[in-house]
């Protein structure tokens, strides 16, 4: 690949990385994505069809007018329009005839796209695109500047890549240092709600639970919250239920929860809390997208809720609604709170008759086959507990799990039980609750999450872990029943993919913790720790309990960068010469030809066919001591020839031991 082709390819790939930084947000229009990918492919193939860019510039102008018209009529977000404009500008320049000006324009427009990506996305993938962009853009721009500097021979690419590699390392380090030290005194004038990438935020919580909905949520891999549990369960895959919302009333199609929320409070006690408790520090991420709080089954206390904005953190109040739900008083993208759950299956709190009758209520137009089915499935079971367990087992074994549903049907429950005999967790939970009620056992449906993957000492819960199950009141106890087949309760991956996902999530958490949510408070804490001069962290325990090693990390990175810079400098200064010397020394040592004390001086090289070795040593000395440096690639050539010559030469016999000097004869 020629030097020009290489630098143009690097430039175009840098633009591609910058575009990807925007595209991962999922907010870039599909047509813009397709257009840019096509342009990138054409550009990488070396085609530049827009020799005269006037016509395409006019087309670009027209497209920009259309874009901003769409903004005016509120069909397109302003930032998305700006990002699309930058991508189109970059594409137009990429396909134009290469020139220094074009290269500069592509690079500057790519920088705009990176900034657009920073606004649109907060995902860890942005970091990857950012890193790729920095590497590719620095290399491409450096090569372009050298190539356009003037007449004369161009240097070998690797000669330029060395200082540019140093430049990349320093640029990344500098970006980190600036990032840490730049005062976070935001004016917050035009703060944009961002951060939710890879589609809109959702957890599936709603005021009602309607049967017949699609099961797309189940395949959504986004992490919606993370939790630190005390005492730590210690398992990699948590087999636990996270309660979100309980539904009592079923009308045949939809579940709902009657009742009005109580007054706001800083701390909410649900039911009758009984120790021992399991404490949870829960961090609702931007992908969560709901006001409903979750806690491990059986939740007892919610409190210490805080909403986190980029520049400040405030305490927030909670709205309880009996034991059915605890909600935030207002929506926020990032919330942390503490929850305590009862570890024991203590007796259920007493409920009044109204409540009890609500949990026994059946839909008015219930299919008559359902009570008959309930009786048939529970034949032989004695007592409520046995009946409940038998019904649970029957549904688990006789019905299949599927996310492919036919859409709206008149009676989704009958359709599930008698026709399709396949459904997802909401169908299973609804069926079990109705069958239990048909056998006069109070039951209600609970929605929340099931599972949790361990990462960095915490448990991550994904949108796909959303789940529904049943709580039944049996013999004065709350019995949790889950009719969904166990292998379909959560969306936890397994094997290598699961391991990779967990590592990725761990990185994502660190990224969110230390970069996306870095704040003025963190800066103040770093400054105070720096003043104290202590290496150990004594940070007051935060809501997430995270430990931040940013200072040590930055100092370590600085040290590594300095060492790399020094090594690169040394290599650039005399790397070839030293390498040639070392190679010759090694080759000669193998054959026992080195001179006294292992030096090249005095090496045994008398054979005629060892002339290349002698030439190599001579050039090494000239380059090292005679100020006649090696040319590009000369060192490698000399070493190769010397190696070939030595391979064909026989190994010399070891020198004979010195003969003992004759003793002087007496005169």
């Amino acid at each position: 690949m020629s030097s020009e082709r290489l630098r143009l390819a690097l430039r175009d790939l840098a633009a591609g990385a910058a575009f990807a930084a925007m595209a991962i947000s999922g907010q870039v229009p599909l047509w813009a994505l397709a257009f840019f990918v096509a342009v990138l492919v054409v550009a990488l193939a070396g085609r530049r069809p827009l020799a005269d860019g006037r016509l395409s510039a006019l087309a670009l102008l027209a497209a920009v007018v259309v874009l901003y018209a769409a903004v005016v009529v509120e069909q397109l977000d302003l930032v998305v329009a700006a990002c699309s404009t930058a991508s189109m500008l970059t594409a137009q320049r990429m396909l134009s005839r290469p020139s220094p000006r074009t290269t500069d324009q592509v690079q500057l427009a790519s920088l705009l796209m990176i900034a657009g990506g920073a606004v649109l996305s907060a995902d860890l993938l942005f970091a990857l695109c950012f890193f790729l962009y920095v590497v590719l853009a620095v290399l491409a721009q450096g090569l372009a500047v050298v190539a356009e500097a003037g007449p004369g021979p161009l240097p070998p690419v690797r000669r330029v890549l060395r200082p540019l590699g140093l430049g990349v390392a320093l640029a990344l380090l500098g970006a980190l240092v600036f990032f840490i030290l730049f005062p976070r005194l935001s004016w917050n004038v035009a703060a944009r709600r961002g951060g939710a990438s890879l589609g809109p935020a959702t957890t599936g919580f709603a005021d009602g639970l309607r049967l017949g909905g699609s099961g797309l949520l189940k395949s959504n891999p986004r992490v919606v919250f993370r939790a630190r549990i005390d005492p730590d369960p210690g398992t990699d895959d948590l087999d636990a239920y996270w309660v979100g919302k309980r539904f009592d009333v079923f009308d045949g199609v939809q579940w709902s929860a009657p009742g009005r929320p109580e007054g706001p409070a800083r701390q909410v006690v649900v039911g009758r809390p009984e120790p021992p408790f399991v404490r949870q520090e829960i961090d609702l991420l931007p992908a969560y997208g709901s006001r409903t709080l979750v806690a491990l089954d059986r939740p007892a206390v919610f409190g210490e809720a805080e909403t986190h904005a980029p520049t400040f953190t405030v305490r927030t109040e909670l709205l309880p609604s009996g034991d059915r739900e605890v909600r935030l008083i207002s929506a926020s993208e990032h919330v942390t709170y503490r929850a305590y759950s009862s570890a024991d299956r203590s007796p259920a709190p007493m409920v009044d008759d109204v409540e009890r009758s609500r949990r026994l209520q059946l839909p008015s137009r219930l299919d008559p086959r359902i009570p008959a089915l309930a009786r048939r499935l529970s034949v032989g079971a004695v007592g409520d507990r046995a009946i409940a367990r038998q019904l649970e087992r029957a549904l688990q074994t006789d019905y299949a799990y599927t996310l492919e549903l036919p859409g709206r049907v008149k009676d989704p429950l009958a359709d599930f039980l008698f026709d399709r005999k396949a459904g997802h967790c909401e169908d299973f939970a609804t069926a079990l609750a109705v069958l239990l009620r048909a056998r006069q056992i109070p039951a209600r449906v609970v929605v929340g999450f099931h599972g949790g993957e361990r990462a960095a000492g915490e448990y991550l819960v994904r949108a796909g872990d959303a789940h529904a199950w049943v709580e039944a009141e049996v013999d004065g106890h709350v019995l949790r029943l889950d009719a969904t087949p166990p292998q379909h309760r959560s969306a936890v991956g397994s094997g290598l993919l699961g391991w990779l996902l967990a590592r990725w999530e761990a990185l994502q958490i660190r990224w969110l913790d230390r970069v996306v949510e870095y704040s003025f408070a963190d800066q103040a804490r770093l400054a105070s720790e720096f003043r104290r001069g202590t290496g150990s962290r004594s940070r007051p325990e935060s809501t997430t309990g995270r430990r931040d090693g940013s200072v040590a990390f930055a100092l370590g990175l600085l040290g590594v960068a300095l060492v790399v810079a020094a090594l690169l400098g040394r290599r650039a200064a005399g790397g070839d010469t030293e390498r040639l010397g070392r190679t010759l020394q090694r080759l000669l040592r193998r054959q026992g030809r080195l001179g006294p004390a292992g030096w090249l001086d005095g090496a045994q090289l008398d054979e005629a066919n060892l002339a290349p070795v002698r030439e190599g040593i001579t050039r090494y000395r000239e380059a090292r001591f005679g100020r006649r440096p090696l040319g590009p690639g000369e060192g490698r050539r000399l070493a190769r020839r010397a190696r070939a010559a030595l391979r064909s030469a026989p190994t010399p016999s070891p020198p004979a031991p010195p003969r003992p000097r004759a003793a002087p004869r007496p005169g």
Partner: protein, 319 residues
């Protein structure tokens, strides 16, 4: 006293001169505007990723400074001046560049001089410990000595956003000879103000053996006529000998004229001197300012005369 004052002046200037000069390119200006805009956006929104981007942009400015400094810091330069530069005629300025350690890229070399500063030599790559000569085409509008004090080495490496320059003090002088003009065939009249030629007839007899006889041309010295042969053939014949006599001409220069007029006279005299010397004459120069160059012939005399004419009228300069 003058040299001490000059030394003080140079020291004072060096003290107040920044060690490096930094100029933004067009792309650099756009980059700075972008950096400012992204920084403003970060402050407005509090978006940490925008802070990361602006951190990268600021960091790239610093990296640009570090890498460009590596290119120009240890650079050694020597000046390669043309021998006979003529006014208004393009000539080559040269600089020998050497870097003991490391590589330098995207270099531009020029003189810090109002006249010669526009000539820029460019070099894409300077390998370590190897002298590379860079040349640039320059032109001077007038004759005279040009004092050279400083060489400016610049680089746009690594990103082309800024031009970093290092000024290297290196004294020197470029003497620009009078420009070439068309020469009048006849000597200038005394009233023309272009100086006088004083011809010496001494030594015109020539010497050596008789080489040939030829017809006497109009204006030639009648004393060279071979009367006997002329009488025999009925036409005037001139004797030519092996060693022809060389005319000895003293060019006269009135160097009290205004600079522009003096330039014209010097160019005229330079042209005449070159023609006369090419014909084999011995040419000298005498000026009203007291300059006197004895007549001589040959290429060396041509250079001596041209240099003297180049310096004519410049006070304090050696003749």
């Amino acid at each position: 006293m003058t040299s001490r004052r000059e030394w003080l002046r140079r020291t004072w200037r060096r003290l107040w001169r920044p060690p490096r000069r930094l100029r933004t390119t067009a792309a650099g200006r756009t980059y700075l505007v972008l950096t400012f805009g992204v920084g403003l956006g970060a402050l407005n929104t509090g978006n940490n990723l925008l802070y990361l981007v602006v951190g990268l942009q600021l960091s790239l400015i610093v990296v640009s400074g570090i890498l460009s400094e590596r290119c120009v810091r240890r650079l050694r330069v020597r000046r390669l001046l043309p021998v006979l530069p003529r006014a208004r005629t393009p000539f080559h300025l040269g600089w020998g560049l050497r870097l003991e350690k490391g590589h330098a890229f995207a270099l531009a070399v020029s003189e810090v001089h109002p006249v010669l500063g526009t000539a820029v030599g460019r070099l894409a790559w300077l390998p370590p410990d190897e002298e590379v000569v860079v040349r640039a085409v320059a032109s001077a509008p007038r004759r005279g000595p040009l004092a050279l004090e400083t060489i400016r080495v610049s680089t746009t490496f690594p990103f082309g956003l800024f031009v970093k320059s290092r000024d290297i003090d290196l004294g020197g002088e470029l003497l620009v000879l009078p420009g070439r003009v068309a020469c009048h065939p006849e000597p200038p009249s005394p009233a023309s103000g272009l100086g006088l030629e004083q011809r010496s007839l001494r030594g015109l007899d020539g010497g050596g053996d008789l080489a040939q006889l030829r017809e006497l041309r109009e204006g030639e010295d009648a004393r060279r006529i071979h009367w006997r042969k002329s009488a025999q053939l009925g036409t005037l014949l001139r004797v030519e000998r092996d060693a022809q006599p060389q005319p000895r001409i003293m060019l006269q220069l009135d160097d009290r004229a205004a600079p522009e007029a003096l330039d014209g006279r010097c160019e005229e005299l330079a042209a005449r001197a070159e023609i006369l010397l090419a014909r084999g004459a011995e040419v000298g120069l005498e000026s009203t300012g007291g300059l006197r160059l004895a007549p001589a012939s040959g290429a060396l005399q041509s250079q001596v005369l041209l240099r003297a004419l180049a310096r004519a009228g410049y006070p304090g300069e050696p003749a």
